[in-house]
Symmetry: C2
Subunit: 474 residues, 2 copies
Amino acid sequence: MSANQVDLGTFFNPGSVAVVGVSRKIGAFGGALFLREYRKSGFRGALYPIHPEADEIDGLRAYPNLSSLPEVPELVILAVKAKLVPSVLEECARVGAHHIHIFASGFSEIGTRKGAELERRITAIARQNGLLVIGPNCMGPYCPSSGLTAWGAVPGKPGPVGVISQSGGLTQRLTEYLYSLGIGTEKAVSMGNAAVLDGPDYLEFMAEDDRIRTIAMYLESAGDGRRLLHLAREVGKKKPIVIWKGGESDVGARTVASHTGSMAGERRLWDALFRQTGAVQARSMNDWADALLALGLLPAPRGKGVFLIGGGGGSSVANGDTCVHHGLEVPRLSEPTMERLRETVPTAGSIAGNPLDEWRIFDDPEYLLEILGLAYADPEVSMVIVDRMVPRAAFHMSGDASLTQEVVDFVTRNRKPTVFTIDCDGGDADLTARGTALRAEICRAGIPAYPSLRRAAWALSQLQSYHAHRAALG
Amino acid sequence: MSANQVDLGTFFNPGSVAVVGVSRKIGAFGGALFLREYRKSGFRGALYPIHPEADEIDGLRAYPNLSSLPEVPELVILAVKAKLVPSVLEECARVGAHHIHIFASGFSEIGTRKGAELERRITAIARQNGLLVIGPNCMGPYCPSSGLTAWGAVPGKPGPVGVISQSGGLTQRLTEYLYSLGIGTEKAVSMGNAAVLDGPDYLEFMAEDDRIRTIAMYLESAGDGRRLLHLAREVGKKKPIVIWKGGESDVGARTVASHTGSMAGERRLWDALFRQTGAVQARSMNDWADALLALGLLPAPRGKGVFLIGGGGGSSVANGDTCVHHGLEVPRLSEPTMERLRETVPTAGSIAGNPLDEWRIFDDPEYLLEILGLAYADPEVSMVIVDRMVPRAAFHMSGDASLTQEVVDFVTRNRKPTVFTIDCDGGDADLTARGTALRAEICRAGIPAYPSLRRAAWALSQLQSYHAHRAALG
């Protein structure tokens, strides 16, 4: 464990937290938010509101400044006005507080000379005094196992994902999204303008955290670009990294300047990164979550060949097209598989082959199990997509689309990447809710499930590319 | 109105329907389905089950053959075994029935020489006797205003869409999808193998139907390719056509052969078609519905410039990137607009510009109305996307996200294409259901709403391309 490990680790499990800049009226957005949310999510360390006059805030004893605290706080959150940040940072240095999260905004992101100058000052003060600083302009660290979650409305759930992000909103939405699919987040950091600690710093830290198995990044700037490239390559050999690069376009880059004051540029760097490191490029919240599901839950595929199991002639044609469109293959099945399919699939109205078009897979779990058995035994098949519709009156379908325990066990115990698609994208609120619930149920059982074939195919193609890249690196 | 108009029109509003091949036991899939569903959906003409022995089927008087009917049936549905189809077709010719829907399958799609031979025979019989034949291997005509709907579980609703499709399943799912968004279907035809009447025949027919304003096609083969190309160009000048070409890939083409027995090939034809005619290319059910929403509900945009109205810094960056990725522009706003934005948008935590990042638009309808007013007055803005989240505890949002009547009126009465996005793609069944319900509510008010920025951007880029193409043709 490097010094960096020890140092950054404190951010996610501090023994005490001081918040500078808390209004007496709890409930306002600002410093008070952290006090309230950390208590709500079960943080067990000491919490110190800092207020020039108040004796008590929301039942917590308040202190006039950092030096009057009974101990050196292990984490200090700065929620004061931007112009006050440099002097409070200097106070941190004086009392020996080293871990600082600057929540305050009003720095380079506002586009004024004064804002940029203020940001340079905090960088300089941090460097001179050896302070570790998250931010400014961000939601800071998040770690459910320590009760350190600032967005308590969605229950924090520890799990295998690490998140490094220049957007608090997108971080919050991702943890919410993954939570709904039963996937927890071990640690996340919303790092805002990243004036001191940058993306590569957090990446190096999370690479060594054994509880983190996949890393999601939302980056508007690379930070130290060479270091990011080097780290992404090295870390990628051990765990998948899914990077959403905000500000890819000129318009995005213009917005990045107003959001985190970053320079989005360096297009060549990003091209090299996605080409050379095996990192997956996400371009939306769905991409982000879809790739994390596949890379987090599935084993490495042997090749690009997908067996498409579903019902409906038009759907089968379209599903084949979609897989090919995403760089996958839909191979002809081997003769033993075809022999058995020809025995069980009726000639009219169904298609024995790949894609398989046979409605029986929707409501006959034993038949589905048999088909999965054929798929796993067939050397032409590297991955499996089962297209599953929500039962609907329109197709004279009834009953329960939940997977049987036998199917779940068979899929999770065997070693071919297998995903389900659940049609829950339409405009009918009831169908959508039932489809989403079914999708979440399957994900919670440890099997990725997607709301469309397109998203399933994209996720599998990323899974395949990542592992092919990793294998090529040896 | 051409002869073709009169002739094909009967399929969608026949005075009487005879079904050949009905089992005594109603409830089975087969000919009985049509009798049951047409009665359920309010078909007012005579229904004649044809059965060699039965006197009555499900309360309807049955007849032993077509010649024993009290009248010449205006539509005959053939649900007999494939090998019996030629002789029943000849019987149709003898009694003078000209409109035939062959539901039966077992022709070229089964891939045997016998199947192909049978299909050639029905084509020959139809040609010799001047029979108009839909099919074989399909669900036939659909017309809610005539009570002619074979998938009665989803209520038929007349509306501005026409559908021409080689997949019954996809046709059914599209009508279901559009219905849930408040959009009805005037006429649809599931044409299966299209052995006699083909895509261009139906396209020519629907082009002249004034109740149809947009046409959706799912085609596995072009039919008469030159004629399709010519018609798509001509019809496209009057109404938008959204074509989903099944079998684009080699895999899809292989499946097409087993689905409708078609040759999917002719890649050059399809390339030319999408390049030269302004037809929109869909590649999934979502594409299909998304394009129909935009092209059906929105006026022509003047240019490619989109104003992105939303909240959240990371989202704003990503939304800008996504629009550019789809060929749209996100222009800088004109000075009067910026002046007003700078007056109303706080400096910290928000971004005054395009994209606009200002959470107030979520819960202050009067402010949203003011921003829309600025957008419609700004010459840089051709289209508007309002990114709207479902209220959620995680973002300390509460209340109702429904649009006020003032916002609906303002958007629908003004002439800049405007769409909403509703975040309802996640894994939380409740959020998804509320998001989908909100989305449907906005669509029903006449404003397209999409579950993701990506889909909104794609739909607007198709809207822009279609109208630019149409304008260039003069």
